[in-house]
């Protein structure tokens, strides 16, 4: 037998920083959000805002400095081409930067909810972690699986990314700050989402991987189904405002946001856009525990990076569309009653610019709050099953969005 004289293990006091401190789940965790972290996010959003300002304000001004590109105060044909190319490059950067910021926000927020630190080491409070990740993706080996369809395999992430980029073109970030101020803005939004479904399907199919194929099929079914309630809820806004132009829709919301009369459509839009960006609880296409990584199982390096950036770019852009359509866009709340932007505009040329900055601030703030809502859901919910996903879409959301449409029509007839 074991000798009886073995002492008990000495009970060593645990150092204070390693001591187990039970912490209540949920809101009390928010206290850990330090000033330093808030400042670093402010910094990052400043980067995004600076990029947007560059595109929308400085770029036309810069091009107009070249005499050959100006005809009678407006951009000439060549001027518009140059503007388009430069805007596309900068738009790419905007989506990428927005994605980097939102990935970081998601990681930090999840860490907050889950009682851990999240990224810490690169930059203040880990602010440049995603930049480091992006560089890692850029320098990784450009690898295509042997049996993959090389052309389609490369094309698919680009299609997905371009569909995200297309959304950017129609969003007005401030009065006049919109890349394409077209009268078919809403149609472009719907079209861009549909193109994205192709990219995901082709990615799953071309990578010659069973999990990829399953993920691609799931994604296609999901995206195509959720296009319908999404489009219908966008349509209600068009019915209510009477325009497909996003700038006109924003201007119509100076006093009362569309969210108030069209609350049903807003709900439908939020749920359907969750499905569009493939976030929990609708992340079936890339359900990690079922399909390994779904449609992007075989993707690595920058090809994967494009999917990733597109997904998180959409996490910025779809809430941005919601803000534009339902939450008054760049207007401050109750702008029809008293608008600080009007005060700024009264100062003349530079005041105009400041007013636009003020609008951009409100726009980014609202978008950040809506993106945070998505992250909150991601931190809380498990994932639906594929058939439940479809049932939710066809049996709940589509009838609901039709109800929303009827409500919009009736309200328009009554109030306008």
């Amino acid at each position: 037998m074991v000798p009886q004289d073995r002492p008990a293990l000495r009970s060593i006091p645990i150092p204070k920083d390693r001591r187990y401190q039970p912490r209540h789940v949920g809101y009390s965790a928010l206290k850990r959000f330090t000033v330093r972290e808030l400042l670093s996010y402010g910094l990052l959003f400043f980067a995004l805002a600076a990029l947007l300002v560059t595109i929308y304000s400085l770029l036309p001004w810069l091009i107009k400095q070249v005499p050959a590109f100006v005809v009678g105060g407006e951009l000439s044909g060549w001027g518009q081409v140059v503007y388009g190319v430069l805007a596309a490059i900068l738009g790419f950067t905007v989506v990428a930067v927005a994605a980097l910021i939102l990935i970081l926000m998601l990681r930090k927020y999840l860490a907050l909810v889950q009682n851990r630190y999240g990224p810490l080491h690169y930059g203040p409070a880990g602010a440049f972690q995603t930049v480091a990740d992006a560089i890692k993706l850029l320098v990784k080996e450009d690898f295509t699986p042997g049996k993959a369809d090389r052309l389609v395999f490369t094309l698919a992430p680009l299609i997905v990314f371009v569909s995200a980029l297309l959304l950017l073109t129609v969003i007005p970030f401030a009065p006049g700050w919109v890349l394409a101020d077209t009268s078919v803005g809403l149609l472009i939004i719907i079209a861009a989402g549909t193109i994205g479904a192709y990219g995901v399907l082709l990615a799953g199919w071309s990578s010659d991987n069973k999990f990829g194929l399953l993920g691609g099929l799931r994604a296609t079914a999901q995206l195509i189904s959720y296009e319908i309630p999404l489009a219908l809820s966008l349509l209600t806004v068009a019915v209510w405002v009477g325009s497909l132009n996003l700038s006109a829709i924003v201007e119509a919301q100076r006093m009362w946001w569309t969210a108030l009369p069209l609350v049903i459509s807003l709900l439908v839009y939020l749920i359907a856009s969750l499905a569009e960006i493939k976030m929990v609880p609708f992340d079936l296409p890339e359900a990690e525990s079922e399909l390994v990584a779904g449609f992007n199982t075989e993707y690595s390096g920058m090809r994967f990076g494009f999917f990733f950036v597109a997904e998180f770019g959409e996490l910025f852009l779809l809430p941005a569309i919601a803000v534009t359509l339902f939450f008054g866009g760049y207007h401050q709340p109750l702008a029809g009653w008293w608008d600080f932007a009007e005060v700024l505009r009264g100062w003349g040329g530079f005041g105009e610019f400041l007013a636009n900055l003020y609008g951009l601030f409100w726009f980014l703030l609202k978008t950040a709050l809506l993106s945070w809502l998505v992250m909150w859901l991601r931190a809380t919910l498990p994932r639906f099953r594929d058939d439940q996903l479809m049932e939710l879409c066809w049996k709940v959301l589509i009838p609901l969005s039709l109800v929303g449409l009827v409500v919009a029509v009736v309200l328009r007839l009554v109030f306008k």
């Binding site: 073995r6 008990a8 009970s11 039970p22 789940v25 949920g26 009682n115 079922e290 594929d386």
Partner: protein, 376 residues
Amino acid sequence: MTMLRPTELAPVPGAQEMLVNLGPQHPATHGVLKVVLGIDGERVTRAVPHIGFLHRNHEKIEESRTYHQVIPYLDRMDYVSGLQNELPFCLAVEELAGIEVPERAKYLRTALFELNRIISHLVWIGTYMLDLGAITPFLYAFRDREAALDIVERTTGGRMLPNYFTFGGVRRDINPRFWQELTGFVDYLEGVLPEYEALTVEAPVFRARTVGIGVLPPAMAINHGISGPMLRASGVAHDLRKDQPYDAYPWLDFEVITRREGDSWARSKLRCQELYQSIDLIRQCARKAPRTGPYLGKGRLKIEAGRQRYRAVEASRGQLGVYLYSDGGPGPYRSKHRSPSFTNLQVLPDLFVGQRFSDVIAILGSMDIVLGEVDR
């Protein structure tokens, strides 16, 4: 490379099958289980489990070790609940050699056994929610498991592989604050468990995913030799803590928890109820355990040739048994383990076929297998 025997390759009539290897490297198989799934769209037409990727020859190794040398190996079977593996072997040897266990040691072993059940169920709830796509409960569960592991560490010196139980009691005395720490932990856990339940088994999406999925009828469960929470969730009141009481269980007051539904949700809910039960049992142990006295019984570890014994305990996954046959030597001549995960896994094809691909994950997770124990 898909490994299927010729008989298993016979086509399922009317199905357009695609064979998918679920594992051995797959996030949802909790280790190196491989299941070859035939899927027709999202519908599973066949499921063939392949095990043995983690086979470490436990039983054969034990034959060449002395009884004391065997115990550390036992920890490594079900690495999620290390202490529980040691108990059936200790019980069998104690009964064969006639070693008495002091009352204090019995309470100690019982309390630690139940603490290990808490640890195991917390790991289960976390990994299962991970399977279903929610990451947050995983981190909450592991955070609290950490506190339990700290108690195990301060008591036994090891965290997951404690090597603590021995023939006649436990290997070394507890520290003076043991019962205080233990009750403090269960008090804390009882406070947060309702929140976890709301976040997991009571969450609407979770219910939508698990209610009515993978229903295991009682008859089928009994025929397959299922035990533990899986069996009790099918409505069979079989609990070795009641049926073949060991250690301090005869002196503790508790009921066998059963549920009738037999589906994935019932298995999940039952484990949550068992967490509360374990908390209660630990409190009872802390109240009733003698504070002084020996922690190790006296006796001579000599087992006569030809004696054999099967002893089983109700581990967190079910009936964990060991069969010992002695040839009079210093170690077992034959040592056979009956591990609950391995037996529970046998019902897998019956539960999988006809389900959707997503449900396969929901069922597999609710079975709560540990591959270290399946393959040994």
